[in-house]
C-alpha cells in the first residue's frame, strides 16, 4: 500500500504540506483553481507536486448536463493533467450549466436510462480527451426527485461498467443524502461495487437551520462526524484499503489539526491492510 490518506491542499498550508513526510500522504486540489496561465498559485502546485502525489478534483465538468462537456474547459483540464501528472482525476455525478450560467453546486437529476446514456457518453468524452479513466463522485442530495428509474448505486455501477470510469465514494455525502432522503446509509455504503472504488472522501457536514432544521448540508466546514467514521470503517472492511481524502474547505484549522484526522484514517487503512496479509508493502 503506497498511498493512504491525503489532504485537500490549502495554499496557506504550503510550507507544512511541502515538508510533511507522513507515510502514504498525498494532496488533492480543485482543478479549476489552477486553470490559469501562470503565477504563484501554479508555481506552488508545481513545487508541491515535486514532493507529493497530487490528485485533481474537478468541480466544473457538469457531466450530467444534457450537453457535451465544454470543449474549452476540457482543453484546460487536459493541459493541467499533462502538467501535474496526477494520481487521479475526478468530478461529480451532477450538472451545473444552465442557460449560459454556471452554478457552483452539484445539481440533481432524475436517474433515468436516458440520463445514464448521456452521462456514459459525457464521461467517455472526458476520458477520451484526457487519455485516462476518471473517477465519478456521488454528490450530496437534498431531495428525492420524482422520476428516478434506478438508485444512485445502480446508476453509478452501470456508469462504471459502461464507461470504464472508477468511483469516488464520498462517505459524508452518502450519510448526508441518506439522512436528507430517509434511506439507510449503511445499505448504500454496502452497495458500491468494490472493484470500481478508486478513492474515498471524508468530510464534515452541518445543519442549515435557516432553510430546514432537519436537513444536513455538505458544508466541509467541520471535523468528520462519528457516524461517517463508522461508515468508512464498514466500507474499508469490505472493499479493502483505498486512497482516502480528508476534505476541508471552510473554517480551516491548522495543518497539524487536519493531520490528526488524516492519521486516524491512515491507521484504519493500515489495519485493513494488515488484516489482508500476506501483503507486500
Amino acid at each position: 500500500m503506497t498511498l493512504t490518506v491525503g489532504l485537500g491542499f490549502k495554499l496557506e498550508h504550503f510550507d507544512d504540506a511541502s515538508m510533511c513526510r507522513a507515510q502514504g500522504l498525498w494532496f488533492e486540489v480543485h482543478a479549476e483553481n489552477y486553470m490559469v496561465d501562470g503565477g504563484p498559485r501554479l508555481a506552488a502546485l508545481g513545487a508541491l507536486r515535486d514532493r507529493h502525489p497530487i490528485s485533481l478534483h474537478g468541480v466544473g465538468l457538469s457531466i450530467a448536463s444534457d450537453t457535451a462537456p465544454d470543449a474549452e474547459h476540457l482543453r484546460r483540464l487536459s493541459a493541467l493533467v499533462r502538467r501535474v501528472e496526477p494520481i487521479a482525476v475526478s468530478d461529480h455525478l451532477a450538472w451545473q450549466k444552465w442557460d449560459g450560467v454556471h452554478h457552483s453546486d452539484f445539481l440533481p437529476f432524475p436517474r433515468t436510462r436516458q440520463a445514464l446514456d448521456r452521462v456514459v457518453d459525457n464521461v467517455g468524452r472526458v476520458q477520451d480527451a484526457l487519455g485516462r479513466p476518471m473517477l465519478v463522485e456521488n454528490p450530496s442530495l437534498y431531495v428525492d426527485l420524482p422520476g428516478h428509474e434506478m438508485s444512485e448505486i445502480e446508476f453509478l455501477s452501470e456508469l462504471a461498467k459502461r464507461s470504464g470510469c472508477g468511483l469516488l465514494v464520498d462517505v459524508n455525502n452518502v450519510f448526508v443524502s441518506a439522512s436528507n432522503i430517509g434511506i439507510n446509509a449503511a445499505m448504500c455504503i454496502d452497495g458500491f461495487p468494490a472493484d470500481a472504488v478508486g478513492e474515498i472522501h471524508l468530510a464534515g457536514h452541518s445543519p442549515d437551520p435557516d432553510i430546514a432544521s432537519n436537513l444536513l448540508i455538505d458544508s466541509h466546514d467541520a471535523p468528520v462526524a462519528d457516524e461517517v467514521w463508522r461508515l468508512y470503517r464498514r466500507l474499508i472492511a469490505r472493499v479493502g484499503p483505498r486512497p482516502t481524502l480528508i476534505e476541508r474547505d471552510d473554517h480551516i484549522p491548522p495543518f497539524d489539526t487536519l493531520m490528526l484526522e488524516r492519521d486516524r484514517a491512515h491507521a484504519i487503512l493500515v489495519d485493513a491492510d494488515r488484516a489482508r496479509a500476506p501483503v507486500h508493502v
Binding site: 479549476e32 483553481n33 486553470m35 490559469v36 496561465d37 501562470g38 503565477g39 504563484p40 498559485r41 501554479l42 508555481a43 468541480v59 466544473g60 457538469s62 450530467a64 448536463s65 444534457d66 465544454d70 474547459h73 450538472w95 451545473q96 444552465w98 442557460d99 449560459g100 450560467v101 454556471h102 452554478h103 457552483s104 453546486d105 445539481l107 440533481p108 437529476f109 432524475p110 433515468t112 436510462r113 436516458q114 440520463a115 445514464l116 446514456d117 448521456r118 456514459v120 457518453d121 437534498y142 431531495v143 428525492d144 426527485l145 420524482p146 422520476g147 452501470e158 461498467k161 459502461r162 442549515d208 432553510i211 430546514a212 436537513l215 448540508i217
Partner: protein, 252 residues
C-alpha cells in the same frame, strides 16, 4: 448490455426538459415547474444558496479593498446584487467578477463612494496580473543592450496599467498597508497605476502621466524611439522612468 440498445439522446430529451425547468426555478423564474412539493422547494433554496455563496465568496476574495471600503454587510448586499445581475458563466471562480468595476459605477447605494469603481478596476488588474503567464522580466543590462530606437519593448504578460480620475491607487495602497495616517492624507487628484509581477509577487505602484504615455506606446507596438518621445513630451525624466519600469519588471 449492448451500446446499440441505447441510442444517443436527442436534443429535447427528458433530461434537457428537466434541467430547463430546474434551472428556471433556481433562477427564480416563475413557479416551480418540477413536481416534488415543499421538499423540492427546500432543495432549490439550498442549491440557490450554495451557488450564490460560492460566487459571493469569490467576489470578496478578488475585491478585498472594495469590501473594506463598504464594510462587510454593505459589501454582502452589493455582492448579492452583482451575482444576481451577472452570475458566473464558467467554473473558474478565481477569474469571476470582471464586470464588477462597471457594475459599481451604477450601483446607487454606493453613490457617495465615487472612487469605489476605480478601486475595483485596480483590484481586477491585480487578479489579472496574479494569474498571467510566466515570463522572465527584462533586466537593466538587457535593456541597455536593446537601446535601439527602432526596437519594440514587449510588456511582461502580467503588466497592467491604467489612469484613474480619482486617487484610487493611494486609497488601495493605504488599505493594503492598513495605514490610517495615509488614508487621512489622501489628496483628491487623478492617479495612474502600474501592476507588475516580477518573479511571483504582484507589485502595485503609482506612476505619472509620462510613464502611462510610454507604456501605452509600448503596448500598442510603437518603437522605443516613439515611446520615449511620447514620454518626453509628457514631461518625463527618462532615466528615472526607465529605472522605475525595469525595477518593477514591466517588460519581458
Amino acid at each position: 448490455m449492448s451500446e446499440a440498445t441505447h441510442p444517443q439522446p436527442v436534443s429535447q430529451s427528458e433530461l434537457a426538459r428537466f434541467q430547463q425547468a430546474f434551472g428556471a426555478a433556481l433562477a427564480g423564474q416563475g413557479a416551480t415547474p418540477v413536481a416534488g412539493g415543499s421538499a423540492l422547494a427546500r432543495a432549490l433554496a439550498i442549491h440557490r444558496n450554495t451557488s450564490a455563496k460560492a460566487a459571493q465568496d469569490a467576489l470578496a476574495a478578488n475585491y478585498p479593498v472594495v469590501r473594506a471600503l463598504f464594510g462587510d454587510d454593505a459589501f454582502s448586499a452589493c455582492a448579492g446584487a452583482f451575482v444576481s445581475a451577472e452570475p458566473p458563466r464558467e467554473p473558474r471562480l478565481n477569474a469571476y467578477g470582471a464586470g464588477f468595476p462597471a457594475f459599481l459605477q451604477d450601483y446607487a447605494p454606493a453613490a457617495e463612494l465615487s472612487y469605489a469603481s476605480d478601486v475595483a478596476a485596480l483590484e481586477r488588474l491585480h487578479v489579472e496580473a496574479l494569474f498571467a503567464a510566466d515570463a522572465t522580466s527584462l533586466d537593466g543590462a538587457a535593456l541597455g543592450a536593446a537601446l535601439d530606437p527602432d526596437a519594440v519593448l514587449r510588456l511582461h504578460p502580467a503588466t497592467r496599467f491604467t489612469a484613474f480620475s480619482s486617487p484610487a491607487v493611494s486609497i488601495w495602497l493605504a488599505h493594503r498597508d492598513g495605514d490610517e495616517a495615509a488614508l487621512g492624507e489622501i489628496v483628491w487628484r487623478p492617479e495612474a497605476v502600474l501592476v507588475t509581477r516580477p518573479g511571483l509577487d504582484v507589485r502595485v505602484e503609482r506612476i505619472n502621466a509620462p510613464a502611462v504615455a510610454f507604456l501605452s506606446a509600448c503596448a500598442s507596438g510603437q518603437t522605443l524611439g516613439v515611446a520615449a518621445t511620447a514620454a518626453a513630451e509628457a514631461g518625463s525624466d527618462l532615466p528615472t522612468m526607465f529605472a522605475m519600469l525595469i525595477t518593477a519588471g514591466a517588460f519581458a
